[in-house]
Symmetry: D2
Subunit: 336 residues, 4 copies
């Protein structure tokens, strides 16, 4: 039985409580939010869950094994560090921290104390990403050549972080989960349409040693909502459209080797080759699997899918992209 | 009556002949292609049109007023220069030339000799682009803030030019036609998946003095064909989807000023604001208007819409983007 | 303050309780379901709500003003009649009853006792239907000429009623809400693919004195889910696609008078005329408005939108359609 | 070498001439149209093709083996009968004739004289229909249970025939080509919105001895163009959307047997079962295959796919549907 406390009861909080409350081998002991009115009636829905305005009531609670941190990004590090130092397992919202250095510190503490450190990259637990993982590892896609993601909508302008920190973590975590190659550098450009100079449109490219490339188009100012990713392999290609209710993944029997001219011409005259497959993907709630993976990782002392290392890799890219934007798109190497 | 000769009878050739043959005040005198078999039976379809294997038969032809050049890019400059120097008006396929310097030379000759120099940026003559021009100049869109274009498909890998030189001229010409601001620099990155190291995927950003930004996503290796552009204004936004048969333009009653928090929150909870309008756009064949504009410009000594200056602006961006790609995405200023 | 009791806590029950519990001037006193386990923990979510296995505990309850009946269709009449005779206002799930005669009886009792009798035709309270009502009454559509509805999906085969009784009430209620004309007869055909001979595919046509026509295509055995309705006027036409998250209503600037041949030809060459408008429609939860209308109708002694008369009109069509199906599609007059 | 003459050079005429002119073992000798100006310059495009205003110049022409009749429906019978009686093979536009009796007469003459009688049901020669035929005969669909077709758009109101005679022949020919069962009766209803009382909206149902059903929704007055057909089998289902440029056929791994309740519930919670397959279909021009089949049938004395029998079956349904409409939707048996 893992006893958990939740710090931060904002937009995502109710979903976290609901899923952890109904998870096996888990008990939600306490929820903390300084906006005490927000959590006043939690105990009515979940008898036995205590509430508090002070995160320390959770972090110092002898009776709590694990802490879920769902507060603004700039607070992740202090809270996670304190929790880990008190011997608590930690699940932190994405992005993990505000800097790679902070992420590294958390990783080290967790490792020294054999504690589970996990980041809530929820998308890694969706049926669609499961299916793409299976396709890529099963080699039906062939050698992966590119990853091209668009995540744009008419969204809230965050007051503290730019659009990449807000939207790209989803796609970056999917990229690192699916593609085994190691990134070596990034290029990023962006623009701000507000006085605070925080970018609301940004374009990020990740470069690799081999001929793989990843590109991310992020915007808070698109009239249309788009959540789509192209993943090209030398055997097949995947189109992942997260807005499709029942057809999120499409697999194209297509490739683009160009040994000979006939091939070239066939491609020219023909704008797709072969069939399209739309596999059925599980529609289970991803957050339930997040809860399960966190609890199982604690109990079985294993690494979760969305582990701290992956969380740090995401932060490293975001950090480098910010440097690139400030340096007019200059290529920034990723120090390791 | 303008008497024209066409040099190069490839994929686009038959469309050029058909449209110029049926244009007012125009007569097609001669077609040249060294692949003589390709043009053998033109005279059957178009009595009175002579054929030749040698472009010089057109360039040196006293009886020809204007020359259409529809040959590979690397031949544009020599043929156009020769034609202009022989006093012929010139319509050249896009991109205009292989370098800004070449484009400048042609512009100068044309100016000195009062000759019409036009580039076949056909998209500028479509009903959809007309409509967008009208919307932007009519100020219903407000101050234009960004231009985000995606032109990807499973296309023929060009042996000589990269994907930007092949696909971006369409979108660049539309950008320069619609948006009055002057670009100051570019960032571009790309990747080649073939041994010849010619990029088949590339991303281009154009930066401006004000807070406007333009981005171009070009690929020959997408499993799906996409031809779409987002144009954001501070009053309304346009989505231009060229693959839609009858709904190419959608206008969104949306904007993103953030004076106050209510606005922010409304945007957050609501993923679009107001109505969508799908205006009817003319479906006339664009190339017929290209022919008309070329002939009218010659007869009335006016500048065509797709004039040499615009053609040169396009080439300047392509040239700078190549430098940026070779310099790992470094920002390249646009020398003027 | 209206005190309500709910009989039947199946699929729709939780939504009913939630919306009535949060409605103004309303208190949910009791929920009855013979599957007592289903309602065991209601009081934990809604303190003060009593539960019972016996509907009579609600119907005979002096302290209850209004009864919501959300049980299988064949039980609607007996429960509603008993409730009305005990002086309770009644909201019954759709379809209202199993026969027009039953519906008439309920209407009469309600009238004699000045009680509110309402049917839960939820769709009449959606933003999309509101908008269509506004468009049609505002005469921007012109004279309505046809109503063509398709409601098909891969659905559960009901064991007791055919696909028309299951799916058509939604569209029939919308038709009667939007179109003022009086139907005079129906034609219906259908097919059963199961041993119980209950139709899983059926087609219904409603005929009118004027040249208006309504058609309904209903199926439980379609591989794709479709929820769309065309409403044609002599000025404009509406396409209502209920599956669209944010573009449920499209208004076409089109009509089909054919006074002259130019018009004909324009229609032939051109596959739509004029613009398309996609108005923003409210996304409020319809069931909240159902609760509000029921409560207001009781307190203000007014007729609700989804009143018993409309509910009876729907049942009359369903009843006649069944006769038509049994008579091989023969036209059945609607006795009034 | 088959020498053909074409009678009627309207909308479809140029396509017929082009395809027959380029077909093997075929020579277009003469084209007849009383609107002589329409055909004046045919010989410029097709040297050697003679023109005439009088169909008899073709029908009585000793040098012509086969006649293509592309005139209004009401003229089909007289021209076809005269041609057959003069020993000519006949390809007639669809619908074949204005009555079953006429069709029968033509069939008899053709049979007696061993002449090929074919109807231009072009859709039977498309890649999409080929693919569906292959799927159904290959039994991957299982036992076919229903055929539900929608063919609506904003179309020209025909002055002489109603919307079923105009649009349904396409779908009826596909039905008869794909589904082996024999129809036994029809029900049809329709409405006219014009003074000439010709139906511009009509609904047709075809009934069979077994539990198969076919339904057709035809309209000239829809704001949106729809060309789609659902074909349900007890193993899989097909959605055929003819407006899709590259995804005309979708195959759903779904079925609806209901042996047990788990199955029922699975269907209820889940709105599709299994994967979707989008096979690549040939994009060859169908009319070229029509020409080829006609010529091959003549030379090899075989029955074409779109033979006279199939053409007559189509007319029989249209004729019965008209009787049903006039009899208020009454079921009309199909006399054989």
């Amino acid at each position: 039985m893992v006893k958990v406390g939740l710090i931060g009861f904002g937009y995502w909080g109710p979903n976290l409580v609901r899923n952890f409350a109904s998870a096996d081998n888990c008990q939600v002991k306490m929820v903390a939010d300084f906006r005490i009115d927000r959590i006043a009636n939690i105990s009515r829905l979940y008898p036995g869950v205590e509430i508090t305005a002070d995160p320390l009531d959770i972090i110092n609670n002898k009776d709590i094994d694990a802490v879920i941190i769902a507060t603004p990004v700039f607070t992740h590090f202090d809270l996670a560090e304190a929790a880990l130092k008190n011997g608590k397992h930690v699940l932190v919202e994405k992005p993990m921290t505000s800097s790679t250095k902070q992420a590294e510190t958390l990783l080290n503490i967790a490792e020294q104390r054999n504690l589970t450190l996990m980041v809530d990259h929820t998308f890694l637990y969706t049926g669609a990403v499961d299916k793409m993982k299976e396709l890529i590892e099963g080699d039906s896609i062939g050698k992966v050549k590119y990853f091209d993601s668009t995540r744009i909508n008419l969204g809230l302008f965050q007051p503290d972080v730019n659009v990449l920190w807000d939207l790209a973590p989803h796609d970056l975590s999917i990229l690192f989960h699916l593609v085994p190659y190691k990134p070596v550098s990034v290029n990023a450009v962006g623009i701000s349409h507000t006085s605070n100079q925080i970018e609301n449109i940004a374009y990020l490219t990740i470069n690799y040693e081999n001929d793989f490339i990843a590109h991310f188009n992020c915007s808070w100012t698109s009239p249309v909502k788009v959540r789509s990713t192209l993943i090209g392999g030398d055997k097949k290609m995947i189109v992942y459209n997260d807005l499709e209710p029942s057809e999120k993944i499409r697999i194209y029997d297509t490739s683009y080797n160009h040994q000979n001219d006939e091939e070239k011409n066939r491609i020219m005259v023909d704008y797709r080759i072969g069939d399209v497959q739309i596999p059925k993907v599980s529609t289970k709630e991803a957050l339930a699997s997040v809860a399960k993976d966190f609890i199982q990782s604690i109990l079985q002392k294993k690494q979760p899918i969305a582990n701290g290392q992956l969380g740090m890799d995401v932060v490293r890219i975001l950090e480098a992209s910010q440097v690139s934007i400030k340096n007019l798109g200059k290529q920034i190497n990723i120090s390791k």
